[in-house]
């Protein structure tokens, strides 16, 4: 509708050449075949019971009813909430702080920036392995803690149900902070430096200048960072799979790992699809946020 409201450009109003349809339809067909058609199937499967053989048996909403009576599912859902808050919160705080610190050009800034966003080019599985080594009972973290006399804090980070999820979280944040920092660096660059200088001449301290001058100008970036981290956190799979596979006893289980286990290990394909639908429903609101933002960019 907005498309029609846009000022018509004479030349474009002419019929669209055939070859252009071809240009559009091929990619669209690929995406429909690889993304939308499978997604629709998942919705259908979530209403069935199916082990992959023969025909799927429709069971209505039974899978969803069972899901909410399933302790492991509820645990995974709660873990996902912790994950979204921890992963989002820590990487936003870290990324923002670093972006502010590294915003102004000075000696060494390029080096610091590169070091901090280097981890994000590694795959999540590689990141997971990097950190698994550190978390071993005799690994670096415990050895360092022992060296500074903190033996009492030493833990079996990945084997302890109280710490496993957070241990994985730290590894994931380590990788994500650089990404968020880059986003905020871009956001800061588009802020108006004269406002900051004006505030400084008015005697505002660094915190006040950040709070009342810079921060309001970052609103757009914040929305994006928020949506991106939540969508990423719902997708998280590789790093948990590489580090704990959801253990010990489901304490680091996330919706995605539980779904994978149900679907591919136990062949409860209907049940697994129901979990996938829940993940989708949770992601939907943030996908919409992102799209709305994208639309604004398009219109602007």
């Amino acid at each position: 509708m907005t498309a029609l409201a846009a000022p018509p450009r004479k030349k474009r109003l002419r019929a669209v050449p055939k070859v252009v349809w071809f240009f559009l339809l091929i990619p669209a067909a690929v995406e429909i075949g690889m993304v939308f058609w499978p997604a629709v199937n998942s919705f259908y499967l979530s209403l069935t019971e199916w082990n992959g053989l023969g025909a799927a048996k429709p069971v209505g909403l039974d899978n969803f009813k069972n899901l909410f009576a399933d302790d492991i599912f509820r645990g995974a859902l709660w873990n996902n909430v912790i994950w979204a808050i921890g992963f989002g919160g820590l990487s936003v705080l870290g990324g923002l702080a670093l972006a502010v610190a590294l915003n102004r050009p000075r000696r060494g800034v390029g080096l610091y920036r590169s070091a901090i966003y280097l981890p994000m080019v590694f795959s999540l599985a590689v990141t997971g392995l990097f950190w698994r080594v550190q978390y071993q009972p005799d690994g670096t973290i415990n050895t360092l803690l022992g060296a500074v006399g903190l033996e009492s804090v030493e833990k079996q980070w990945l084997a302890n149900p109280d710490t496993a999820l957070y241990a994985v979280l730290i590894a994931a944040v380590w990788r994500q902070v650089g990404y968020v920092m880059v986003l905020y660096l871009a956001g800061l660059k588009s802020t108006d430096p004269t406002l900051d200088d004006a505030a400084a001449t008015d005697g505002a301290g660094p915190w006040q200048r950040f709070r009342y001058v810079t921060w309001p100008q970052l609103r757009g970036v914040n929305t994006v960072v928020f949506a991106v981290t939540v969508i990423d956190s719902l997708r998280t799979f590789d790093i948990v799979w590489a580090m704990t596979q959801g253990g010990p006893y489901h304490s680091s289980e996330l919706l995605s790992t539980y779904m994978f286990q149900q679907g591919f290990t136990f062949l409860n394909l209907g049940y697994a699809s129901a979990i996938a639908v829940v993940i989708f429903a949770l992601a939907l609101i943030f996908i919409i946020t992102y799209l709305v933002r994208a639309t604004k960019e398009e219109v602007a």
Binding site: G52, P137, W157, L158, Q245, G247, Q261, F266, N268
Partner: protein, 426 residues
């Protein structure tokens, strides 16, 4: 326009891999596969033997097979386990797969995934000479669907020299066993090693054995079939015994895989390890001769002695494009020379299922293992093999939780029963 460079790349992939001598078989298909359709002549053998020695051994055995080209695909056991149903269920499944005998195989047979190989078990078939127990183990709904090629025993492994240093004797009763644990602990060594980190199923070893020693094999099988409750009085007794062990188990084991947990044993930083005979492939060669094992101590002498003897082998996919070829490959793998070659190269102390293999030349440790099994009155497989992988995950959850919080045992057993019921009910 798009497919041309791709298939050329596929072809190059084959060349790129030629350097890896141990994977010649795999390379042949790396180029072969890009022209799909040749599948009916080439057989695929999907293997979960990803530890270096067994993998190399199977590669060698497969190289010795000349009737049809065979591609060997090795996928790490944890991924393999997770994906096995998907492999079997795919339109173009691998022809032959490594796996183990027991309920899991029967479960897949029940779903119609497995090829009927009954003719290998009759007449001149490769499995015709195998024992009746093995035949029964490989049977589902009156048909044989499995080809067992080796099995192994479980025992409490220790280093002879270490026991000497600590001045302890091999225990035969529960009380003696606890006393040994106490002595070893007093030397500042963890008495029991157990890697339950990425391999939580290891914790089921003690559970199975305590149940076998206290309640017997029949109860154990029935329990895993859902005929008894995990929060019943019998299992509570089992857990009371298990609880006595908790203080002696190396707490670092919770971060270890079973392989990692071998290292403290060989370094004499841990005393004993209840594990399968495959442990020998993880022990440095200079320590293997020092390695010994003893039978899990008797708790109730009136209960007939039972041992776990998990059986490994192969099954074929019902949807194989070349079922005759698959059966011929199975026959080859089950033959005495192939069994012997595999066992020797894999350094795993496994025992052959074929009675034609001369075992007198095997190491003394293996002889002892054969004797252990011959003396036992009943044989079980292992928790998951006697039940299902899905029930195994309920055991993993319950037992690792129990190791962390032995005080919560009643609550844990109630949860276990609830989740087991869900699995068995479905």
């Amino acid at each position: 326009m798009v497919s041309v460079p791709l298939s050329r790349r596929g072809f190059l992939a084959g060349i790129g891999g030629v350097g890896m001598a141990s994977l010649l078989g795999a390379c042949a298909t790396g180029s072969d596969d890009s022209s799909a359709g040749a599948a009916s002549t080439t057989l695929t053998l999907q293997s979960s033997l990803s530890d270096p020695d067994p993998k190399a051994a199977l590669t060698k055995v497969v190289e010795g097979y000349s009737k049809t080209p065979v591609t060997l695909n090795t996928i790490a056991i944890e991924t393999f386990r997770a994906q096995l149903p998907t492999y079997l269920n795919s339109g173009n499944p691998p022809d032959v797969l490594t796996w183990y005998a027991g309920s899991v195989a029967r479960d897949y047979a029940g779903k119609g995934f497995l090829l009927d190989v009954s003719d290998l078990w009759t007449g001149n078939g490769a499995c015709a000479g195998f024992s009746d127990a093995l035949k029964e183990l490989s049977t589902a709904d009156g048909k044989q669907i499995f080809v067992p090629t080796n099995y192994y025993w479980w025992g409490v492994f220790y280093r002879k020299s270490a026991f000497q240093e600590w001045g302890v004797q091999v225990p035969t009763t529960w009380d003696e066993f606890i006393a040994v644990c106490k002595t070893i602990k007093s030397k500042g060594v963890a008495p029991i090693s157990m890697g339950t980190g990425s391999t939580p199923w290891v914790a089921s070893g003690w559970f199975d054995y305590l149940n076998l020693r206290i309640n017997g094999a029949e109860f154990h099988r029935d329990l895993l079939a859902g005929k008894h409750a995990f929060d019943g009085p019998e299992v509570k007794t089992v857990m009371d015994h298990y609880r006595q062990l908790v203080e002696y188990i190396d707490p670092k084991g919770r971060s270890y895989s079973w392989q990692d947990a071998v290292t403290p044993l060989t370094a004499k930083k841990a005393g004993m390890y209840l594990i399968g005979a495959f442990i020998t492939s993880g022990v440095p060669s200079d320590a293997v001769d020092d390695l010994d094992f003893f039978r899990v101590p008797i708790i109730d002498p009136s209960v007939p002695v039972a041992e776990e003897a998990p059986t490994d082998g192969y099954f074929a996919s019902a949807k194989s494009k070349n079922p005759e070829g698959a059966k011929e490959l199975l026959s080859y793998l089950a033959s005495a020379p192939a069994q012997q070659q595999f066992i020797q190269l894999a350094k795993s102390s496994n025992l052959p299922t074929s009675q034609q293999v001369d075992t007198t030349t095997f190491a003394p440790l293996v002889q002892k293992g054969i004797k252990l099994l011959n003396e036992s009155k009943a044989i079980t497989q292992f928790f998951n093999r006697d039940s299902s992988d899905e029930l195994q995950t309920t055991a993993d959850t319950a037992l690792t939780k129990f190791l962390d919080k032995p005080g919560d045992v009643n609550k844990i057993l109630a949860e276990w029963q609830a989740s087991a019921k869900k699995v068995l009910g479905s």
